[in-house]
Symmetry: D2
Subunit: 347 residues, 4 copies
């Protein structure tokens, strides 16, 4: 396995709530069943900010190299790896690994495996020139796709795709996408590719315009109207809804956007005080609504989400930045100043 | 249609939150597609109390004859009724009628039909010697069953049966029944008949003993322990849960009783301030939990729930009382002093 | 109810296997719950030919007015009809009525109701200026659609739509459409609208070109290659398949086109000797394949199929003909000389 | 890893269609991720006979040690094995391994993994004192069960359990078990434990009596009546059916036993000429029937099937025999002279 003897660059968090520092690190060795990946691009996800800020419990493993929207090429193979060769393109998602033998893994619910590891959280991620990942858990990427555009599919794509699936909305039915940001603008595209009719809710006129361009048939500006009321009046409610916004109020409102019998998927994690929502039992019972959690995605979701993108049906709106810009990007993210997705250009 | 010329006795509510009065009323005439029913037995459901107290919005249609767990015999046929004859046994549930043509009715979700009528709420019910009901919405009852024991199946049975179905708990998996009262003691039996393993939660030792006798393998006394903690420690959480209790806290706790990926059905309606619950978004998202409403049952649920009881798999624990005792029964219900189900002995 | 006193024209079959005769008939009276419909357009379906030829058992009720792809306007209302007004556009499908109360009707499977009636088979159909139908079973059509193009949706559309649903193929997965004729060219469009990837199989180069234009990504010419072998080699088999062809061999081949775990829907009825197919048990067992029947569609399917067409996602390729041309059309159909769908221009 | 230095005894097939020979063999070494198992009991399945006779294509890997209903104890651990310790009880099913990363494995359909290996067919099985198996694919067995009675659960149990699941029969609905032999008598018990109502079909009065004792409510003697006709007349058909018999006719009849909308699972493999069945397209289409293959079971099925047995709900009727009796047992099996299941007593 020939490669630069003098290590790699990586953006590292040494202490929670501090700045990342781009430092020289040893290139990791792939263990049994693992591959070494030369990172080409890595998306910056809102979850990376939660990791750095220590918003969730348990917190990340320090020192931390964040990043879980990784597109790269195979640079080396550990023992026991079959079906991969050096130079091949791969993608690494949030779900670094799962145990493979628990009742959840065996039931196609590896997203809730109690022994799962998370890329860029409990394991080193893609804010680096190299990383390792278990061969069984990466996605194979096509030579014909744009690696930087594919990066956000590996988290934002998979997460919204599974979220949509878990609403059980069928082709021809309506789904509301609450929040048309990094996740939402991708969710609109998956919903359309899955044959759904889309209602989009946001507080920004510009983002609602983007939603319309991407195929939303109905938009509601929550800064001007009560979106739930509007959706009930105009559409009779929607069969499904997913909440990509992080405001508690968005989660509460989403239930009221549903048509009787409808399902809302929660795919975000506001964290801290924003974690608690108030719900009306009678609304849920009388109209037989469902509220379902959806946690990133399984490998099946990953492969399917990547396939949609590879076939040209999903295209993330991205902005490229160098690795060293990571702290500035986090600042902009904190201030809500990012449109679409920032992708670190590493390779 | 030969019958007593001098009318019938019925327990009538003239004004919300007042006592019912047993009065003479004209025997109603069955309209097109309707049958006249001579009531034999009518269960007293907690919802009757909510109706009388005006707890729900919109309120009942006054004057009101409550009662929606009606077992009786056909006493007359309106025009256009086929497949019924006088003397035949029938049961009337909460769902008096649904429109039959809306998207919900056509999707097997007539429980959420926006044009549905409710027995003993928007239409006269079974606290009377006679009532009418649409032939298409009643259950045919077997000559071999006990009419008084069957009455509670028509609401308590159907409601818990559908609630269990909506948890998607499969045979061999665990379900928690929260509250072992009028609904709960029937829910335990349906769960067992459906092949589920049962955990029962209540604050009364006596009710937990009853649950054990009916087949619960695990019981938790919520007056002594945190039942959610106990269920997580001993069972790893349960795949499903239904909440038959009316305390807000029970609804909140039930979510914490679930195994990752599990589903809780809400089948009750506490009403008023107790309607609002607090939920953790991260609990739902991280463990991919589902919260689903379940509103009484469809006709399919009704026929299936009745069939289980007819086959001897479900048996309601009942106490017979005369119609005139209705106000006293409501008083006992308010004070939580009823064990099992009170059934009015009318016919 | 004002209308022409001197009756209506209709194409009538007096004896099996004879020519239809266009005769004067009395305009039918709508009964309770029925509407009178002035027919504007009626598609000519292959099933009409089976009816006239007496291919199925039991045969049609004679004298027979065929036609079950009826687009028309309400011309009169029977008693007990609500929600319709004269002049409103409606469509009548094959499923004239179902009982509404049997276990199949209540389970959302009214397609298999044992008491169902069939338009243009057991009840007079749309090869006439007027017909009656139960209000509860017709589709409401939009003022903005083309009535002649909508007609084929009412059978060919509904049937292929339900057939596709019953394959359980998910958005992003592959489905094979075997036969790109009257049903098949519509099936390709529904599959695309439902997010599926389409493989098309036919023996006509022209029809395969049409399939490509309508969105098929893969086509196989069964006159040149073994389509099952090709589909296995190039696509690894498809997740779903529907057979719209009437050759026995097509039914047998379709199973071999499936990917492991795949499902084929049978939506056609070859009749007579062609009814019997040979299947390999080991193919089904080893690869866990499913073979499922699909019989026209429920009202839910009807409303959904119409909605897809109303939204511009499905467009039948039609040829208009006058009512009197019906026997000539049947002749062409027998010789396989019809491309797309012939629609009788009646109103 | 301390064990007998002088090897083990095993029943080995050196050439298709010849007798097995009990010989001394070296004890195998567990590889990475594998465990060495000391065999206690191994059931004799009809598939073992098919293997020895070379009935299927591709045939078994020679020399072959058959046996895939293995109950034993852990005797040694390969590298990379966690969660097991020496002395612990384990069970090995037909599915020796699956790749874990293909679309089928990831979709919870590892039964159809194209890279799967089969115990006692492509890999050495349990007709031996020792065998190895991948730790990830064995079942952990309770200390409180009888190892000999548990052995048949590992194939007969898992196979019928999955077959029943794939009929989608719900609790309270009817299922027909065709054939009450080694698989069928276990299928009756799973069906009852899953809340189904059971109809049993066989040609032996004794076996039908056994079915009754195990909970079948309806039995049909196919040597005296047309069982399909009887089941239609008396039960209106059953919602589900599984075919455990190996006669082609049983497969054909089973479809005719179904209620409209019903599903039959094929779980057996007659092989050779008996593999081809004739089916009526119109029966399948008109009544919307489903025919589904079911191929042994996944690990999830395995763990669930074992749990039912551990909880005392399933009990195989067994006859113990020594390893050296294997050829005599095969002879009896060929002549249909085995009641219940023969289990080799090895440990
Ligand atoms: Zn796991
Ligand atoms: Zn992310
Ligand atoms: Zn009630
Ligand atoms: Zn309705
Ligand atoms: Zn047709
Ligand atoms: Zn029906
Ligand atoms: Zn076996
Ligand atoms: Zn595999």
């Amino acid at each position: 396995m020939a490669r630069a003897a003098n290590g790699m660059k990586a953006a590292v968090l040494r202490k929670l709530r501090q700045k990342l520092k781009v430092e020289a690190m040893p290139i990791p060795e792939p263990g049994h069943g693992e591959i070494l990946i030369k990172v080409v691009a890595c998306g910056v996800c809102h979850s990376d900010l939660h990791a750095v800020d220590g918003d969730w419990n348990p917190g990340p493993v320090l020192p931390l190299i964040p990043g879980h929207e990784v597109a790269g090429t195979v640079a080396g193979l550990g023992t026991g790896v079959a079906g991969f060769k050096v130079g091949q393109r791969v993608g690494v998602p949030w779900m670094f690994s799962a145990c493979g033998v628990c009742e959840f893994c065996l039931a196609g619910m590896e997203t809730i495996c109690q022994k799962g590891e998370a890329t860029g959280y409990s394991k080193p991620g893609g804010y680096a020139e190299y990383m390792v990942a278990p061969a069984a858990f990466v996605a194979k990427l096509s030579p014909r796709i744009d690696m930087h555009e594919m990066a956000p599919i590996l988290c934002a794509g998979v997460t919204t795709y599974r979220g949509l699936k878990r609403t059980s909305t069928r082709p021809g039915q309506w789904v509301t996408i609450v929040g048309i940001g990094g996740l939402g603008h991708i969710a609109v595209q998956y919903a359309r590719a899955m044959g759904m009719r889309v209602a989009a809710v946001d507080v920004s006129e510009e983002k609602l315009k983007l939603a319309r361009r991407l195929g939303a048939e109905f938009v509601a500006d929550a800064s001007k109207d009560d979106p739930a009321k509007l959706i009930q009046e105009k559409l009779g409610g929607t069969h499904g809804a997913i909440v990509t916004a992080v405001a508690t109020r968005a989660f509460e409102q989403a239930i009221r956007m549903l048509r009787p019998g409808g399902t809302v998927s929660y795919i975000g994690l506001p964290g801290g005080k924003a974690d608690e929502i108030r719900t009306s039992i009678s609304a849920i019972t009388n109209w037989e609504l469902s509220v379902r959690g959806s946690n990133v995605g399984t490998r099946l979701d990953l492969h399917e989400a990547v396939a949609f993108a590879t076939n040209g049906l999903i295209r993330a709106k991205i902005e490229k930045q160098p690795l060293k810009a990571v702290n500035a990007i986090f600042d902009r993210m904190r201030r809500g100043k990012i449109v679409g997705r920032v992708v670190l250009d590493i390779g």
